[in-house]
């Protein structure tokens, strides 16, 4: 009951956020925070099966280019392009996933990192398709949503983009939550704990690992596609290697064990550096410091810290009530 109430309160807060935020710059920051939530949460989805890829930026890049080119070269609608970009990235992840997931632990991570770099280089070199290092400009925004007689959303303001990304993140989180709580999630966790045992009890561990990789990459592709429609431009290094590493930091600092971890990590670590803009060139130092602090002092991340604080506060309050 208490939990449902706080969820409703949180949702209401997120919905009215653009109305109270002072200026488009802050709304832009909130949009980035939302994108990072989707990326960090989908990265965690993959990590549930015991593998940590560093290809998330690469997957977002593919999604961004795919959506942009589908709209500009084939004239598809923005919504169709968004979905096809997500599915296209999932397909690519499936194809490269079959050889990749056979490698375990750090070897998988290394190979996916190279894959991410390969995507960047391909986008730079394949000039006839991608426009080379300059990237693609003038990407149209999302097609207007018209409900006759009621309202029209034409994505002319940042607030409209904020609501779109809020919707995408809500769908993304609902999916990830459902997967985690299903038998598929149980199977991922089993594979993470003892993959030879899972394999011997009839579970196609390679297939499930590829499924996790493809599902997580799907959401990265969607985020990339959204970004290209939002910024109306995409360059090969828009989602470069450091971007991928940041996504990993959001997840680890937020707390890999819990569903809320990457969400909190992405919010805190996206908003904090933006609060003081002069601080911006020190962002990598800041991230490193947060990561070290988390590893040493709160191994279960920001989510674990939040949980413990809530517990502590409610205990204090409970004593007063008694």
């Amino acid at each position: 009951m208490k939990r449902a109430f706080s969820s409703v309160l949180l949702a209401a807060g997120l919905v009215v956020l653009p109305l109270v935020a002072s200026g488009p710059y802050y709304i832009h920051t909130f949009i980035l925070a939302m994108m990072n939530i989707a990326l960090a949460s989908s990265l965690r989805l993959i990590s549930l099966s015991g593998q940590i890829p560093l290809a998330h930026g690469g997957m977002a890049t593919i999604g961004a280019y795919m959506s942009a080119l589908l709209m500009m070269k084939l004239g598809l609608s923005s919504w169709l392009s968004l979905i096809i970009a997500g599915l296209g990235v999932a397909l690519i992840a499936t194809l490269v996933g079959y050889p990749f997931v056979r490698l375990k632990g750090v070897y998988f991570t290394i190979v996916t990192a190279f894959f991410g770099e390969m995507v960047v280089l391909t986008a730079q070199q394949w000039q006839s398709l991608t426009g080379g290092s300059g990237g693609v400009y003038g990407i149209p925004g999302p097609d207007p949503i018209v409900v006759p007689g009621l309202f029209t959303i034409d994505f002319s303001s940042k607030a409209e983009f904020y609501y779109l990304v809020l919707f995408l993140v809500a769908v993304n989180l609902a999916f990830i939550y459902a997967i985690e709580k299903s038998r598929v999630g149980l199977t991922f966790s089993g594979i993470k704990q003892a993959d030879s045992l899972a394999e011997s009890s009839g579970i196609d561990t390679i297939g499930f690992k590829v499924l996790a990789f493809a599902a997580g990459s799907f959401f990265a592709g969607i985020v990339g596609a959204f970004y290209s429609q939002y910024i109306s431009a995409i360059a090969p290094d828009s989602f470069g290697f450091m971007f991928t590493v940041y996504t990993l930091v959001y997840m680890v600092a937020g707390g890999q064990k819990s569903f809320m971890g990457p969400i909190l990590g992405a919010i805190v670590l996206t908003l904090l550096p933006e609060v003081t803009r002069s601080f911006k060139e020190y962002v990598p130092f800041f991230f490193a410091a947060v990561l070290i602090a988390v590893i040493f002092f709160v191994p279960d991340g920001i989510a674990g810290l939040a949980l413990r604080t809530t517990w502590w506060v409610s205990k204090k309050l409970g004593m007063k009530h008694a």
């Binding site: 038998r183 149980l186 089993g190 704990q193 394999e199 011997s200 009890s201 579970i203």
Partner: protein, 252 residues
């Protein structure tokens, strides 16, 4: 039920398993013994597809399953346990079994996500089946304990229970009694006998000679990757090659 012909495995130049023939009859408890390093676990790995044999074939219920992937071998009904990592440590005892029920008519992805009635019913069935298996092996009182906190003997029993949850036709136990105390050994032997009485075919690797001799109907002895003897427990006890392999040449 299971027929093994000329099974051979080279690791580089080393012949770990050498031209082994063996047959497991339905309804039998077959033992596989041999000194440390004789190639028993390698043999299990060859049968279940964890590693590919260099030569030879594995026929299960008339079908050649040589070189099939482990999860496909498991689907045919050959389920093994492991000596070491035989449980999911972070799951509860119950979830260990629930996940191992994977081969049962599974609950579809959409069914789970949408909480359909058929999905809930199947979830219920899997839960009931899991609890029944835990009762069978005597772990029902520990259903909600996290597996890593179990005593060693209980962990081993849970490994067997998880294998049972897969619905095996042939249950392959890799040293199920290792590290157990006397009482646990007795309990596990009773469990194995009970399973056999219910019609389970069992292939057993074991170090405990007393247990192997009293449980098994037939025993194959392996030494340095070669089959050196096969027969009933009485025949094996009297076999000169076996005595030599276990006690050294001087005693033969």
């Amino acid at each position: 039920m299971l027929e093994i012909r000329g099974l051979t495995k080279f690791f580089g130049g080393l012949e770990a398993v050498s031209n082994v023939d063996m047959t497991v009859q339905t309804g039998q408890i077959m033992g596989l013994i041999g000194p440390n390093g004789a190639g028993k676990t390698t043999f299990f790995n060859l049968l279940t597809g964890v590693i590919r044999p260099t030569r030879g074939s594995v026929i299960f219920e008339g079908e050649d399953i040589t070189g099939k992937k482990p999860h496909n071998v498991a689907k045919k009904g050959m389920i093994r346990t492991f000596q070491a990592t035989n449980i999911y440590p972070d799951f509860t005892v119950l979830d260990n079994i629930v996940l191992s029920c994977h081969l049962r008519p599974g609950v579809g992805f959409l069914e789970t996500m949408l909480h359909t009635r058929s999905g809930r019913r199947k979830d219920r069935e899997i839960l009931d089946r899991s609890l029944a298996i835990l009762r069978e092996v005597g772990l029902d009182g520990l259903a909600h304990v996290t597996a890593r906190n179990l005593a060693h003997g209980h962990k081993r029993t849970l490994g067997i229970a998880a294998a049972l949850a897969c619905g095996p036709k042939l249950l392959m136990l890799d040293e199920p009694l290792s590290g157990m105390n006397g009482e646990e050994v007795t309990e596990t032997m009773k469990l194995i006998t009970r399973l056999w009485e219910k019609g389970m075919t069992i292939l057993l690797i074991e170090h405990n000679m007393r247990a192997t001799m009293s449980l098994c109907h037939k025993i194959v002895v392996i030494s340095f990757g070669k089959k050196i003897a096969e027969g009933t427990p009485e025949e094996i006890k009297a076999h000169p090659e076996v005595v030599k392999a276990y006690l050294g040449a001087g005693h033969a």
